[in-house]
Symmetry: C2
Subunit: 217 residues, 2 copies
Amino acid sequence: MEKIKEEGIIFESLINIFTVEKGKLKILLEKKQQEPYKGYWKLPGMNIKEDETLEQNIDKVLNETIGISKIYKEQNYTFSEINRKPNKRTIATSYIGILDSNLIKETDIETKWFTIDEIPKMAYDHKEIIEKAKELLKNRLINTNILKNLFPSDFTLPELQNIFESIMNINLDRRNFRKKIINLGLIEETGYNNVGGSGRPAKLYKFKDDIKEINIF
Amino acid sequence: MEKIKEEGIIFESLINIFTVEKGKLKILLEKKQQEPYKGYWKLPGMNIKEDETLEQNIDKVLNETIGISKIYKEQNYTFSEINRKPNKRTIATSYIGILDSNLIKETDIETKWFTIDEIPKMAYDHKEIIEKAKELLKNRLINTNILKNLFPSDFTLPELQNIFESIMNINLDRRNFRKKIINLGLIEETGYNNVGGSGRPAKLYKFKDDIKEINIF
DNA sequence: CCAATAGTGTCTGTAAGACATTATCAC
DNA sequence: GTGATAATGTCTTACAGACACTATTGG
């Protein structure tokens, strides 16, 4: 006999892993190998065991998925819709994580980076969960610490501005944006220029090491 | 034989109910009638059943505790420390709620308003959960909608300023605060004055009905 | 009159926002 | 040279923040 919803409430964690590549905000998704939703994409995650906290569980997920768990992460929201998964009543707590995409390691899990505007068909309610994660990201952008995690390597000011605009969903004047960012004293020139694009090469910047918590918007 | 942690993971909701009375921020707590922590105070809450969402469960808690559930509420944070409750592994999702204290009705539950600076001995990790709720309140204060929920009745500007200062944990210049609040156009004079205190009577204000979402700090 | 509290205006500095031209590269 | 993109400075306006005195009430 098929067992339907007989296990009580199950509890799972999910993580939205963000990065910036080539001036684009991206999220790491995992391909679903099993029914239901086989072939769809999902957020990395796992059921919680009785002897672990959410944070410990998220670290396990990160290690299995990208081979590293010491990244910036933050709890986002707990989803409890009754039918968010078929058959099993499952409550999910989602996290966001932010890292330099160069840091991730190959694992057994099939994953892929998607730009935030090109999210594929998602399993369950994971699309909605990503939307909520984007909101948190937007709110956290007023805190510059998070920016540093998004841009660990060299970047150009136009790239930085693009990320701002895509996360905040606004358009900014180039001159005013530069003025503001530079006045804040958060970044410094590396002395090198960007190469390869057409047009005048952009200067490369990096975040200073000793950034304090500063509200920038 | 005593059963220890044999029920798997239990899931509960908790709510931080806030109000403002006489210019003081207060939270509603419930007296614990049973061991453990008998006689201590706790946040209103309840275990989640398999056929209800967190939001539905919170509404149940509100109805049982204060006889009203249609209030401003918002999910805050999910606590998953393994030993946060003795014997039962329990994960808790906390909410904040805000209302005019005049709206609450008498129920069977023994509750009491505590000013936020005079929190009594709390059961479990509820003290920590209140701290987290204060942080959310602080963050949400930049959105004026929440202010309206805190001040449904007439209030004076010094009272409003007191609440600001106690939630934000800062001190503000009286003149600058008035200027800012009045310039925002969120409130209007009722035409009446406060009575009863010593000194010059303060004008009474109320929030306008059509407040939009505006960031004020 | 005294104590207590509420109410008010000005000035200064800083930051936001609007705006157009010049610079450097690949081809 | 052309096309593409990056870099830059000025002016105006709005808001933040510092600051001291007057007004109204109860006793």
